[in-house]
Amino acid sequence: MTEDDAHKLLSASSTLNAGKFYGSSEGLSLGAGLIYENIRCPIFDIADRVFLTLELPVYVLTHECDVDSTNRRAFNDYLTVCPLIPLQHFLREHSAWFHGDTELRCFLAAVAERRVNRLAYLPPGPSKLASGAFLYLNKLASTHVCEFNAVKPVASVSAFGLATIDQIFANHFLRPKSDRLSFSI
């Protein structure tokens, strides 16, 4: 499947308003909703069971007040990011495992329709987001603010985009527990 075909399938299945999803990053300070490239963060290597250090495209989750450089205080030097998986990289890896498009079509449609809890689809945007990307919600990473000192964001989501992503994270992380805990009402 080509990137174009995948993009058409995702767009057709998604209810996101792609035209409203991104906005200008000009003048915005480091914080939630910004997208950067080449940020060093750890990713667990399944084969060797060690953490790798990679430079990745990331979506910033930490609120800007927590890492405000003008507000000197303790505990404002680390922030949480979610690595981005650009669609073209996913398609390339997928084609190495599956020859047909059947599984891929089902998978992409399910992600775009928000039926896969752990993944969020981001519509096409600037730079590496040209064909869209995925956020793997359980693959969050922590990195130091110094990683952002000399770089500028490649994109920012809009207020609409931020509200959409926030709701996705809220749905994912704040789901009611399946197991019954002590003192449950």
């Binding site: 990745l56 507000n71 890896e93 789901r175 009611p176």
Partner: protein, 82 residues
């Protein structure tokens, strides 16, 4: 009965201990917390999503490999101790 000898106490001096008032530093975050009190039930409870499609182990592996291929490997540590 043993009594506490407090005669040495007049030699002691207490150093002033100052706690930095972080409120003096500006700007202060003005965002409202989502949940005003952690002991109460959230006012807006996120909807429990109906999961009709899970990620298969192969898809999980593909997502992992795609994450790695989207970046540049800088360092791979070695196991120091089992």
């Amino acid at each position: 009965m043993n009594t506490l000898d407090t005669s040495f106490m007049h030699h002691l001096s207490v150093e002033p201990f100052e706690v930095v008032n972080t409120r003096l530093h500006v700007p202060i975050c003005t965002s409202e917390p989502i949940f005003k009190n952690s002991t109460t039930t959230p006012e807006t409870r996120p909807s429990a999503e109906i999961i009709s499609r899970d990620i298969t182990p192969i898809e999980d592996l593909i997502l992992h490999r795609a994450t790695l291929s989207a970046g540049k490997l800088i360092f791979k540590g070695r196991l120091v101790r089992e």
